[in-house]
Amino acid sequence: MKRISVFLILTLIILTSMPAIAGNAPDFTLKDLKGKKVSLSSLLKDGPILIDFWATWCKSCLHELPLLDQIGDKYRSQGLQIVAISTDSPKTAAKVRPFVKSTGYDFIVLLDSKQEVRRLFGGTSTPYTVLISQEGEIVYSHLGYVPGDELKIEAKISDLFASKTGDSSESKVEHGE
């Protein structure tokens, strides 16, 4: 038990004391429901992005999606895009398109059947939410969903837009000087 404790304590100290080493979000290209390729870099041209990794068999994902859709409606005019990336494997992939179409969600849906992009962003399971600023910086990520998580996500989005407004007003002042 002492041996395990040494390993656990050392590892936990390293992990928890470590600052977030991620800066920029890695670029990726996935196909949408029509088979068209979509890349992160092309999406970022229009504004910040909230990515949600989900699957049709994941119950908590299905509870989170309508809330994210609602957040998308609220911040779309400011340039926010919601990108729902399905991690359904071929075994359940057939359910993705009927589900999305029947629910009438407005967000962009991409397919990551091998879960490569989810792993690229450090996600171990679904749902996994990542907020990326227009500059391509990962500003927030969260694993799982419980009721109320949508409030924190919205607060982070609000902060992101507030800081952007602050930056632009600062730059205006600088320009004015």
């Binding site: 992990l15 890349s39 809330l67 029947s102 969260h142």
Partner: protein
């Protein structure tokens, strides 16, 4: 003592990697650096099990991705002492996964460990599930390119399973063409074909697989078809086939999906590098999900229909599916085909207005090849006490019938019945943690000759039962770390993630998982 040294060396190694990555992540080289680490630990109660050592586990996964321009480097360190599932080996696998990827808008080349999937897994399918420790990845090189409407993919590699034992090598290619949207057919069509050669491996002789797929996406649905055939070079008359099709229809507030599968696969384990659609739901209730509807995987013909409908704030879902055994492959089953159908039906009705309480009713019926007939239902209520605090309560009950003994007098089986229950209560605070208490119960007993009266469901429905209480704590730290702590009895059964299931051993004791995102 040796383990202690190993533990220290792993921790020091981990620290070195992290420090190194800190250095290169300061915009000196890597444009982005992402990854995650997961520690899994399980310690059973010694008194409960004779096979104590088998249930004890401790493992660590560290995964990192560094990206620079068009290049991505991935490394994974895996430390088992031993693993929770799979081959229970001890020790350090240094970097058990590594790849370098070069990617542009129209070209992708990857060398090292890779996974690929063609024809929804029927023509070619390799994947990994860390949740279940399943891995059918390849080591080698793969390339994907597209030009206008043509897509090409090729690969050559060696298959590696969870235990890292080399199984076989394979090489293949896939070519597909996307016809642009046409008003005449109100959609677009994709056609593809593939060919793979498998070298002789531990499990079978060398063989070739050829496959085709077609997809028609139209404005209110789609049709998808794929077919594969395997021919063994040394056994010229032995052929294996797989046919899968899916029909989707949808409108506002409703959708209908119909899957049809017709498989005849080799009679040993899973077919090589194939992961075809299963065409039945993974689960809707705990008491059903821990015992899936089994299929005659090698010679299976099955159909699934799933209807979703939204009305007046309620979401309804109905799934009906059937799986049957057949002697010979036919695209459509015929009278000459021996069928032994097993049916399942699942339904849910859910009322979940945004940000308010949630109510869920669920019910189902399921037959298995083990001749268990399960039917039951459950109710879940989620009370949002305030914007961040939620109390969830759930109750499920399932009745099971199974033939126990053969009666010479009646010339039929005597039926036994039993009941299983499941209760869950959870208190959740958003971005803080959850405390969950569960209690599973069953009065299942093995039937011995003469112990069950004839007739259905007359026995053991309300008898004394066996109980599996458990408590689970989850806690979030600093937005990037999550701790899961389990204590109590785990009943065992199937654990499923994304259509892939694994048998989980019964367990009593402590389990802990610590996950970090970078």
């Amino acid at each position: 003592m040796m383990t202690l040294k190993l533990s220290k060396s792993i921790a020091i190694g981990l620290l070195s990697i992290v420090m190194l990555l800190h250095l290169i992540s300061d915009d000196l080289y890597a444009q982005s650096l992402t990854g995650q680490n997961e520690i899994r630990y399980g310690r059973p109660g010694k008194k409960e099990f004779n096979s104590y050592d088998y249930l004890y586990y401790m493992e660590n996964y560290l995964q990192l991705y560094a990206t620079y321009e068009e290049f991505t480097l991935h490394v994974r360190q895996r430390y088992l002492m031993p693993s929770e599932f799979g081959e229970r080996r001890d020790g350090l696998d240094a970097f058990d996964k590594i790849f370098v990827e070069y990617k542009t808008d129209h070209l992708r080349v990857k060398g090292g460990d890779f996974y690929t999937e063609w024809g929804r897994g029927l023509l070619m399918g390799s994947l990994e599930s860390l949740e279940l420790n399943f891995d059918s990845g390849l080591e080698g090189i793969m390339a994907e390119a597209d030009y206008n409407n043509v897509e090409i993919a090729v690969f050559r590699g060696i298959e590696v399973d969870t235990s890292s034992a080399i199984l076989e090598s394979a090489a293949g290619g896939m070519l597909s063409y996307n016809f642009p949207y046409s008003r005449f057919i109100a959609g677009n069509v994709k056609l593809g074909g593939s060919a793979i050669h498998f070298d002789e491996g531990n499990r079978h002789a060398a063989f070739d697989r050829r496959g085709v797929e077609a997809q028609y996406l139209y404005d209110f649905g789609s049709v998808y078809v794929s077919y594969s055939t395997d021919s063994y070079n040394e056994l010229a008359e032995t052929y294996f086939h797989g046919y899968y099709s899916a029909f989707e229809f949808f409108g506002r507030d409703w959708s209908l999906l119909i899957d049809y599968k017709n498989y005849r696969f080799p009679p040993f384990q899973l077919p090589a590098l194939q992961f075809p659609p299963q065409a039945f739901p993974t689960s809707i209730m705990y008491l059903f999900s821990r015992e899936q509807p089994e299929t005659h995987y090698q010679n299976d013909v099955g159909v699934q229909a799933e209807l979703t409908y939204r009305f007046n704030g309620w979401d309804y879902n109905l799934n009906v599916n059937q799986s049957s055994y057949q002697d010979k492959i036919r695209i459509l089953p015929s009278r000459q085909t021996r069928l032994h159908p097993f049916w399942s039906t699942f339904g849910t009705a859910e009322y979940a207005p945004l940000g308010k309480d949630r109510l869920l009713f669920q019910a189902g019926y399921m037959e298995t090849t083990a001749r268990n007939y399960r039917y039951g239902g459950g109710i879940l209520y989620e009370w949002r006490i305030d914007s961040e605090l939620t109390l969830t309560s759930e109750a499920q009950s399932v009745w099971v019938e199974t033939p126990s003994t053969w009666s010479e007098e009646e010339e039929s089986y005597l039926w036994a019945g039993y009941r299983e229950d499941y209760i869950l209560i959870a208190l959740t605070k958003s971005h803080f943690g959850t405390i969950t208490g569960t209690l599973a119960r069953s009065n299942y007993e093995w039937a011995t000759e003469g112990t069950f009266p004839k007739g259905r469901l007359k026995h053991k429905i309300f008898g004394r039962g066996q109980y599996w209480p458990a408590i689970l704590l989850t806690a979030d730290f600093m937005e990037r770390h999550q701790l899961r702590l389990f204590y109590g009895y785990e009943r065992g059964g199937l654990g499923c993630a994304g259509g892939l299931c694994r048998l989980i051993q019964p367990f009593r004791g402590v389990k802990a998982t610590f996950t970090s995102q970078f």
